[in-house]
Symmetry: C2
Subunit: 247 residues, 2 copies
């Protein structure tokens, strides 16, 4: 798209154009619903720069390869997961400061197209790689990250909150049956505890009309048994393309 906005023979302007390599970086979130922690997938760098730092799993785009294909390729080397759907997040491409070594701005620039997904924790199987360790890290307690990856994680977390507020993405990571408290805890884990109190949240979600009581109950701890609900996709269908808030 937008390729060749100029005449190819316009050599004068060609020479002043930047040359790019393009990378993809993936922000893969998951929630461990047993411990209520939000995780992001990181790999440990085995090479300079940032040797020994954790980084988002990424790669550079190869000849003949689409951006999405590169993003899926690098993830396939690190994890097995069902129904991984990557969504484009943002493209970062600021020029690096002139290194002052006389090469001026003529060197190759790197541009990063970031992708984003939320996956069900139990559906993911991390692949043991001898050459590059891969692990989940708590978003609230990240180690120093390579490059500007901390900023990309922050951007991705904001997008995730947004999706939780405006779409039924929560039901893609909860088990098929869940209590209203499970659902509330998931929202708290991602949005932070102050987003809503439980009774408001409960009333609002039930009013939307797509949570179906299964008739079953579950006992946990000392309290009364809690009702198990399921997401009723059929009841949600007519709302699918309407603007809606979930919290």
């Amino acid at each position: 798209m937008g390729r060749l906005q100029f005449h190819p023979s316009d050599a004068a302007s060609m020479t002043s154009l930047a040359h790019f390599k393009v990378g993809v970086d993936n922000v893969i979130f998951s929630v461990d619903t047993t411990t209520n922690r939000l995780f992001v997938l990181l790999v440990l760098r085995q090479e300079p720069p940032f040797l020994g730092y954790w980084a988002l799993p990424g790669t550079l785009v190869r000849q003949g390869e689409s951006l999405e294909a590169a993003a899926y390729r690098t993830l396939a080397e690190k994890l097995q997961v069902q129904n991984l759907y990557l969504e484009q997040l943002y493209t970062f491409g600021a020029p690096e400061p002139d290194p002052g070594n006389g090469t001026g701005g003529d060197c190759v620039r790197y541009l990063s197209v970031s992708y984003f997904a939320l996956v069900r924790y139990d559906d993911v199987h991390l692949l043991a790689m001898t050459d590059q360790p891969v692990a989940w890290h708590g978003v609230e307690d990240l180690p120093p990250l390579a490059f500007d990856h901390a900023q990309i994680v922050t951007y991705g977390h904001r997008r995730l909150c947004n999706k939780l507020e405006y779409s039924p993405v929560a039901f893609e990571v909860l088990p098929a049956q869940f209590t209203l408290n499970d659902l509330y805890q998931l929202y708290c884990t991602i949005l932070g505890e102050q987003f809503s109190d439980y009774s408001n949240f409960r009333a609002k979600l039930l009013k939307l009309g797509f949570l179906a009581d299964t008739g079953q109950k579950v006992s946990r701890g000392a309290g009364r048994p809690a009702s198990l609900y399921r997401f009723d996709a059929e009841a949600f269908a007519p709302l699918k393309n309407k603007p809606l808030v979930f919290v």
Copy 2:
């Protein structure tokens, strides 16, 4: 960001990487509230490929130039407008089919980062350029566009609808005082007539509590004089970071 994901001396993998030029394409929307038409800004191409076709205003990124700077640069040549705020839309970068001329995948690829804005129609002054005509075109009645720009316009229109549903962007393009019917017409122009009936729309917007009746009325046509409202930014402030739907 994400630059140098590999060791620079890893020459074997370097050779298979794609080489890119990066372009920016701008989807600038405006609404003529007197005729209720949604417009997008186009330029007439004076060079091959797509000589004589209309296209989104775009350019290729120069050495030392950020993506945003390139987007603003190419617009500054074509229009004067107050408070232009460009938002990143999407990055398109599929490899082109192998031309079959023996160059294989080794030629330069083009990647397009698209930007998006909605501007107030009366605030825009198009600059007369002898070398490249620039004009507003009705989104419902676009000519054939160069490259894949029709697809980018469609994508931008979807984002615009989304913003109208979830944010107070409408008040940035309406005059400071407006009737509820003016507001409804603006929504109809962008979302299509079927998004809501007038009385539902009216009730919902008034209930949100940030439309202030100015006490003034305006007469148009044969009907009763209609109340003029203004957007009350102070009343909206506490809602600003809450998930909210406007329609």
